[in-house]
Symmetry: C2
């Protein structure tokens, strides 16, 4: 592949700042900057070979020249916000990075009479209670043309490689063809991770249903990304207002903030008023796929009375959100009437909002779920825009006591049945998973999912491995997330410190994202993803060689790493010191260890074998003593 | 067992506050209280049956009367500091809880000429640089009498049950004979966890070398605790000053703070000046076992020049610290001369301070380690005071790249050899473990340790599962810690957010302790410890029933849980609200789920089977609709 690197931005920079003012205040209030490059990083773009127009973003971190190492290439989910040559205008939305390829080919066409916004879409909010509308006059609504392929699944099945497929292939490889060795060391539990990802491999994985590229044709701002067991583990961040709290600016800010730190996807879980208008702002300013749970808005449209939900209201909501550009929908079609009583003896019943709404509907009508009954209709709507399914686990366990029970697994098997239907209809599908699960029951979740859901990507919330630490559930769940990611889960939905207690603020979003980047990367390492360890090794070399600035810049959160270091050793000179505050200069094991290495190298250069442990030790000792000053750690 | 509960403090309360003033300022500066009961908790004591004098502390959390549940009994490592009837006097030290049993029996005797403090013990600090001495005039130094048993291992081998053994048996059971069901549900990988712990079981485990009760006979302030694979997983917190930062008050404050939040053991890793004096303050004010790494102080005594270390200096340091009352010593006797070159090609060489000091000594002298050569002499000294071995992993990996390499495992096998020697000498032994290990290589660490170290308790640092997140290594390591705890590790050494970057402050100590309490408890759950799940279930029931105050009080950190909740719903009325800020009242799955449960119960009361899913749904539906208001979630 003829990959070339360019520092040019992918599109003309936009001018004018506007609504961003409020956001800026939030930023400065929290002491963070939502735009501009990340510390020590440079934004670069790699063009495609099959599709030269595509420009795949990376974040490149250069290390100190003394290291004599190439820069480290990082996956970059932050979008144009971290490109200093792009001027962000929240009012206009992001540049549209996706090509007009589908349109040129006649696969999609503008919708002549797109759905009008209705008062109930925003919960009948009016006057000062109504969030401002995003100016969508430039947003033409598209839809698949009858008889033509439109979803990535359909293209893949037809043997067609799309620009999106090449885009994600380049993205997954992290330029390691050029910069880093391919390290195969792990246990992948039967996954099929290639040394290098090709567009054809992407196509095959999508065609088998083992991966998805969530991207609504009405969300051209998206930088395509792939979710599948044989790719890098991804993370999702949830944002959204609630009936208790709400603000447009806050949600856009959280979106940008979450992706800045590494969120690959964002779900807008807004409830209450203004859902429609807030979603426009989010989608038009998002370079990552946006997911929603349409039943939330449908419930608002019937004034919060679950029993009053109808297929017609739900259908209208699907079309509304699909036309806006939502990339994937959580659909709780597995919450079937017969499963509801299985939850009655649980310690924590049904903890999924969508699940409980549908359970209540089923119970009060004594009817099978309209989501289940109309599943093929739902497929037809979602296929027309390539909205991916995220089949919701409405009966997931909400406590350790309820993990892996019959309600949970009955629903999972149903999700497997629905997966086959959705595929037959041409849709992309992933499957949602728990929840609260103790460590010894986690693997069974992955095994059952693989078995019953035909290797469709698994997308789990945590799982939390204990219930006893509200306030720290990002940690209780990171343990489970890392493990289930290792076992094969393709995307991890973050949990923030506020889980169970309140809505996450900016700091919570960042804590959740960084924690889940840790879990996802730990999973990549353990699976033996061939590109994963290059990052660890680069940072460890920097640590061993006292390249403090490189250590900070290579870390997931350079600001925090630097701040922690500077609390005890603030002087600039300490950034090159060959010790740190933990041990002080006398006790620095790294320094002593470098002395040992130097001595051993001297011995090795003299022809002795390093692994022949006993041999040559006398010589080494002599050289070591003769070396004098450079092995003296006393200060 | 005739357990009775008493609210009486175990000893006469002490009067007078003194040096604590500085500590108080620190406390208020951080907005926390280092003394007084924890939120929602009551301190209780349970007496022994074999030894009626012993009083085992617990923390009891009562729940709201509406729950009709007994209080939850928590393991309590916080010592007298959380007993409101005890007045703390840092200058006098804690009450001595251990009996004079060994003395009465003639097994131990006062040392007539205890070692005098020498200027080099405090790094020749003088004048204003010398930390104040703790008044040790009431601290008589004891030693085992020639020909008599003195260690718990020796008593156990002789078939003798000690008060310490009954103490830990009561402590491990968490009063669940009275209060909670015994839930056996887990995968213990061949452990032998009993339903209830008896003193005889404790004796057997110690006699087999599978568990230790670290407690120097010169540390009578200790509340005995046990470390072993068949008991609750324990955690250790590291404190200590360094050459860069130091303060007596800060270290005592960190000790109290760490145990308040749940540290079972504390290691004093001080380096620099004043090591001896600071240690007196720590030991005399600690109700948990204190561990040290004597080589640190020995190095200070030779002015930081590793090559100048001698057996005589080290021996003198062991006696000095054993007479002070240190409960366990990390001894890096496994860092043998032939192993040093095995580290030369590592990415991060030797990262253990003690390991690098010994490696440097071996290399510069080209001699086998004096710790290895004098290992039997070390045993003789430690046995005389019942100081436990913590056989140090001086060659542990310091990066993902170096995990499970030959250097690490060669040392581990040596630690197994040394374990047998120490047991033959009558000593208690545990084994230290890594470090940095990716998830797929963690289990091999436990398996190799069990195989080569004859089931002596494993005590690991993390392990960290990735190197890329400095600033968040409490989290990268909690993932590994939870897993290795599940596999069989008996004690987890905490890692704080400051790891690799700086010395932990108060907040870091708390974050590290809470994070490791999570890891340890997640491990207990997964192992199927029969008492573990009662805590999770009690909290989950509180959550499901909207008993917010109970949720806070039952959490590992009630202050943080309450604070997070109150950020969005501060009003007192919201503490009884049947919803929270995440979903608001319309979307509360818990509320809907309770409605479903009520409906199902109504059906069940009417004689239908709950598991017969299809049956009776029409009736349920009818009742549900007829129920009217109470199932209406609209507000």
């Amino acid at each position: 592949m003829n990959i070339h690197v360019s520092n040019e931005p992918p599109h003309e920079p936009q001018v004018d700042l506007a609504l961003a003012d409020a956001r800026k205040e939030v930023a400065s209030e929290h002491g963070a900057i939502p735009t501009g490059p990340r510390a020590g990083s440079q934004k670069i773009y790699v063009a495609g070979e099959l599709f030269p127009d595509i420009r795949v973003p990376f974040r490149e971190v250069a290390v100190h020249p003394s290291a004599n190492e190439p820069p480290v290439t990082m996956y970059d989910s932050s979008g144009p916000y971290t490109d200093p040559s792009v001027t962000i205008d929240i009012k206009k939305g992001l540049p549209r990075v996706k090509s007009s390829w589908q349109l040129d080919r006649g696969d999609i066409a503008p919708v002549l009479n797109p759905r009008e916004v209705k008062p109930e879409d925003n919960g009948h909010a009016s006057g000062k209670h109504l969030a401002p509308r995003f100016d969508v006059s430039n947003h033409r609504v598209f839809k698949g043309v009858e008889g033509r392929p439109v979803t990535q699944y359909e293209y893949a099945r037809a043997g067609i490689i799309t620009p999106e497929m090449e885009y994600v292939a380049i993205r997954e490889n992290l330029r390691r063809e050029q910069t880093a060795p391919c390290i195969r060391d792990g246990e992948d539990f039967g996954a099929s991770i290639p040394d290098f990802v090709t567009p054809e491999f992407v196509r095959q994985e999508i065609a088998r249903g083992r991966a998805i590229i969530p991207h609504n044709i009405n969300h051209p701002e998206v930088e395509p990304m792939i979710i599948g067991r044989n790719f890098l583990v991804k993370i999702n961040a949830n944002i959204g207002n609630s009936a208790v709290l709400s603000s447009v600016d806050d949600e856009v800010d959280k979106l940008v903030w979450a992706t800045r730190w590494g969120a690959d996807n964002v779900m807008d879980l807004s409830t209450g008023r203004n859902i429609h208008n807030i979603r426009d702002w989010i989608i038009r300013n998002s370079s990552v796929p946006i997911g929603t749970v349409p039943i939330y808005q449908a419930l608002e449209k019937v004034n919060g009375v679950a029993e009053d939900l109808t297929w017609e209201v739900f259908r209208d909501t699907l079309i509304e959100q699909a036309e806006q550009g939502v990339d994937y929908f959580t659909i709780h079609a597995g919450v079937r009437l017969p499963f509801v009583p299985l939850t009655a003896k649980r310690v924590t019943g049904i903890v999924s909002r969508g699940g409980s709404i549908m359970a209540k509907w089923c119970l009060s009508h004594h009817k099978e779920s309209f989501l289940y009954e109309h599943f093929e209709d739902i497929c037809d709507i979602m296929r027309a825009y390539d909205v991916s399914f995220s089949l919701g686990d409405g009966l997931r366990p909400g406590s350790i006591a309820d993990a892996n029970d019959e309600a949970q697994f009955a629903e999972l098997r149903t999700l497997g049945e629905l997966t086959k239907i959705a595929w037959a209809k041409g849709c992309q599908v992933m499957i949602e998973g728990p929840g609260h699960v103790p460590m010894h029951k986690i693997k069974a979740n992955m095994d059952e999912q693989l078995k019953h859901c035909h290797e469709a990507p698994f997308y789990t919330l945590g799982p939390l491995t204990t219930d006893i630490a509200p306030g720290y559930d990002h940690i209780t769940s990171a343990i489970g997330a890392a493990m289930i990611g290792w076992f094969g889960t393709a995307m991890l939905c973050y949990v923030t410190p506020k889980e169970h207690l309140g809505l996450p603020d900016r700091q919570d979003v960042k804590d959740g994202v960084i924690t889940y980047k840790i879990a996802a990367h730990a999973a990549d390492l353990a699976k033996g993803h061939p590109g994963a360890r290059a990052h660890d090794d680069a940072l460890s070399r920097a640590r061993f060689e006292f390249r403090w600035e490189d250590q900070f810049n290579l870390s997931l959160d350079p600001e925090t790493a630097r701040k922690f270091h500077d609390e005890t050793l603030p002087k600039e000179a300490h950034k090159t010191a060959h010790f740190c505050s933990m041990c002080g200069p006398k006790f620095c094991s790294m320094k002593i260890s470098q002395d040992i290495r130097d001595a051993a190298k001297a011995q090795n250069d003299a022809g002795a074998s390093l692994t022949d442990a006993e041999a040559g030790m006398a010589e080494m000792s002599a050289k070591f003593r003769a070396g004098g000053g450079e092995i003296e750690v006393k200060v």
